[in-house]
Amino acid sequence: METLLEAALRLGRGETSSQELVRASLDRVAEREEELHAFLTLLPESAIEEAQASDRRRAAGQAMSVFDGIPWSAKDNLLTEGVRTTAASRILGDYLPPYSATAVGRIEAQGAVLLGKTNLDEFAMGSSTEYSAFGPSRNPVDPTRVPGGSSGGSAVAVAAGMCHFALGSETGGSVRQPAAFCGVVGVKPSYGRVSRYGLIAFASSLDQIGTLTRDVRDAAALLGVIAGGDPMDQTASTAPAQDYLAAAREGGKGLTFGVPPEYLGEGVAPEVRAEVERAAGLLERHGLTRRDVSLPHTPYALDAYYIIAPAEASSNLARFDGMRYGPRADAQDLAEAYRRSRGQGFGPEVKRRILLGTYVLSAGYYDTYYLQAQRLRTLLRDEFLQAFRDVDVLLTPTTPTTAFRLGENTQDPLAMYMADTLTIPANLAGLPAISVPGRPVGGLPVGLQLMAAPLREDLMFRVAATLEEVAAR
């Protein structure tokens, strides 16, 4: 399938037009959307209008960038001014944001054409997109299987050819895991690399906007656009963005990578493990040095995550109370208004996490849970930083298994949580990480994950480009 940079090239040469790209996208949507349910909101009219405007700009020699006229989609927890944004929850009703997320605004400033808002697990809480209040998305490779989540709709849209690129968001693997399941490239930048302003918060200290693209270079180009400081987000790093595209073009030759054994242990399917070992061998053959490192605290990451993330979520989601926006339930008194509005508005998984988070923050439990989890988080981060003194990147599987079937894990929250065990550590430590497709196993995509030190997206992209080149063959 055509990448974003290839489409840009054809646009530049006058071989196609934005209208043609958008119409082709809409045709794909018409063919497959009913089955796959990638979108919560589609914007065919405004997309065509924007495409026409883009074509006029280009004809006048005023194309804004390589992104000008390229169709894209945004996960529906990213605010888009005047365009319904739901976070796949009933509690927001038909919420129309009065402003756009910083990342969305930066892409719009490049002239890209927003095709629609994509499906997700409610408030990005889930790993399969089955927890969307508006019904699940399906994996385009095998529609009996989940696309992963929570950025499932974005991964589906990119994988199924409905748009050239998409934004997703991560808290514990929500971009990389669906990228792995759907066979596309997913990037979670370093914490703070992209402004979170306008991203509906799940867990503030873990959330990060990420990219879903058809190849590594597209991801590099896209991150270059959205990365960088933002006065609206104090946690956004003011370090200037690197030239990620140049890094991807350079490749990983001469760099060092490690394969931590903790990421290949129990729970990781043998064929996934084999694929990682195969990829490691290929990297070595293509000029990289392998030096294995151990990350012994890895097994505790999931525990720490399921304390910190729900704790922050319980507070972040308190604002959804039916008082200022979203539907308000009829009630006799204030307490009932809260109970009913929130009781009716949130789905079961969101409630589970709010309860969990409320519990771990309560008086008497804070030290035992939250503080302890934060200590673990510090240990994990230190352990990673230590490892990155020896290696430039770490190579691991993105997920323990390939895409599971719809309904397989919905009755067992713990099994669902396990889908994120290999991606969560990067969120806890704030590392940049990428999932690159390996060679499919049993006809299903497999994701190979690379992690690098904070703000070393350049190293990540260099190795990812090589990995992509050699591994998928």
């Binding site: 990213l78 605010l79 944004t85 976070a87 927001l92 919420y95 944001p97 009065p98 402003y99 997320a101 979170r196 302003y197 306008g198 991203l199 509906i200 918060a201 867990a203 503030s204 200290s205 006065p231 609206m232 987000d233 104090q234 946690t235 704790a311 922050e312 319980s314 507070s315 989601l317 308190a318 604002r319 959804f320 109370d321 008082m323 200022r324 926006y325 204030l334 809260y338 409320t358 923050l361 309560s362 008086a363 804070y366 939250y370």
Partner: protein, 471 residues
């Protein structure tokens, strides 16, 4: 309350007078139409993030310094979680364990030394208003920076609690960090009160009275509550830890929430804001910039020999003290300046005819007026008239004197003519004076003053009357 000692601690909240709110750039302004100074951040819209206002942090540091606190080298914000319709995010950004200032003290005028446990920075909530059709919220106040100043339980009477609160307010005013308008709710206090047998060390369960917005309410509520608790103990009962409200019209406190119903605020570090370092050199600069504080003002004025009441009155506000200093700088004497300020000018201020902060005429003119009197150029009564005109229209003493035609009549013959005219009209008083009635002299001098509209020095008038009557 014999046999019991009253133990009170106060949490004083002061809204800071910054240009913009604490975590967004909305104007921090009282009195605008409801919900006009709002944005996604202070409304708690999805996706919005706070960003700290450095001016708010500086104001907190200055308050901490003024209260003799240790200023933290590193500080951070925390979330205090609870649901209420005036709280847009479902949590308040506050400070839990790393407040900006800690371990300070305040000398309470007419009271003891009170320890200040902490000075912390937080955001105010919106304003809930109950109307006939239900409740509405004005979010203009949401996100306004708020200082919380927590005292140790060192206050021993409702009067001392009030004096402490007033002193905190004066300090905030002196620093210029707040307009501290009671009637606008920009200063509020929660009080904790318990009783214990005189001599006991341990504290008994305390009652919290929340959200007091007037000094008088506080004093009354605490006095009532102390008496109520004393009565409970006298009856052999137990005082439960609880939150009580103050019903001013009825003059009673009433139970609002028991300890068991108390909220669990589930504090945790605010992940949207970075912990911040406070540079000691910046703190040193802010310390340098501190103005003279009310306590120092009082000491300095007392050293000048002013009466206690004069000290209290002049030191009450920076503006009065500055005016006093301005008049002194013009070379006037202490006693006279103090008398004018505490007398006529204070009265004018009460009547709304004069404002020390924005005086109609500069302090130097008060100095000039005092000197004119001292040098006999103006009589006391004439000076009062001059002052009144200055307060009304501004300008200089010289202009006012000219305008009022109040220049002293220096020509002795002219004065003598006026005296003779009075004496010829007041035969009875003259006779009384001759008969040795001293009061008659006062009357006659008064008549001369009246005739000349105060332009004659009383001692001169008196001397000439003696001469004329004697002849």
């Amino acid at each position: 309350m014999s046999g019991f000692e009253t133990v009170i601690g106060l949490e004083v909240h002061i809204e800071l007078q910054t240009e913009s709110k604490m975590f967004c750039s909305c104007p921090n302004r009282f009195g605008d139409p409801a919900n006009t100074n709002i944005c996604p951040v202070c409304l708690g819209l999805p996706g919005a993030l706070p960003r700290p206002n450095a001016a708010g942090i500086d104001a907190a540091i200055r308050m901490a310094l003024a209260l003799g606190c240790q200023v933290a080298k590193r500080s951070k914000f925390d979330r205090k979680n609870y649901f209420y319709p005036d709280l847009p995010k479902g949590y308040q950004i506050s400070q839990l364990d790393e407040p900006i200032g800690a371990d300070g003290r305040v000398e309470v005028p007419g009271g003891g030394t009170v320890r200040v446990l902490r000075v912390q920075l937080e955001e105010d909530a919106g304003k809930l208003q109950h109307e006939s059709h239900g409740a509405v919220v004005d979010f203009n106040r949401a996100g306004v920076p708020l200082l919380e100043i927590v005292s140790a339980p060192d206050l021993r009477s409702p009067q001392e609690a009030r004096a402490y609160w007033e002193e905190i307010r004066r300090i905030a005013l002196a620093l210029g960090i707040s307009d501290a308008r009671m009637e606008e709710g920009s200063v509020r206090a929660d009080a904790n009160i318990s009783l214990r047998p005189v001599g006991a060390e341990e504290l008994n369960p305390r009652v919290e009275i929340k959200n007091m917005n007037s000094f008088r309410f506080l004093e009354r509520a605490l006095a009532y509550e102390a008496e109520r608790q004393a009565e409970v103990y006298r009856q052999g009962g137990r005082v439960d830890q609880e939150t009580r409200g103050w019903d001013d019209p009825r003059g009673v406190t009433f139970s609002q929430r028991s300890k068991e119903e108390a909220e669990d605020y589930r504090y945790f570090p605010e992940p949207d804001l970075l912990p911040f370092a406070i540079d000691p050199s910046h703190v040193a600069e802010l310390r340098q910039s501190l103005p003279e504080l009310p306590g120092d003002r009082r000491q300095r004025l007392a050293r000048l020999g002013l009466a206690e009441e004069q000290v209290r009155l002049i030191a009450e506000s920076s503006a009065r003290t500055a005016y006093f200093d301005g008049a002194m700088a013009a070379g006037a004497d202490v006693d006279s300046v103090a008398k004018w300020i505490c007398g006529d000018l204070a009265r004018y201020e009460n009547d709304g005819r004069f404002d020390f902060a924005h005086p109609a005429f500069p302090a130097a003119e008060l100095g000039a007026l005092v000197q004119s009197v001292a040098q006999g150029e103006l009589t006391g009564p004439a000076a009062k008239k001059v002052l009144s005109l200055l307060a009304e229209r501004g300008g200089t003493v010289a202009d006012a004197v000219r305008q009022l035609g109040l220049g002293r009549i220096d020509d002795l013959d002219a004065v003598r003519a006026e005296v003779r005219a009075v004496l010829s009209l007041e035969q009875k008083a003259v006779a009384d004076l001759r008969a040795g009635k001293k009061q008659a002299m006062g009357f006659l001098v008064g008549q001369v003053m009246r005739r000349t509209r105060g332009r004659v020095a009383p001692d001169v008038a008196s001397r000439l009357i003696v001469e004329e009557v004697g002849e």
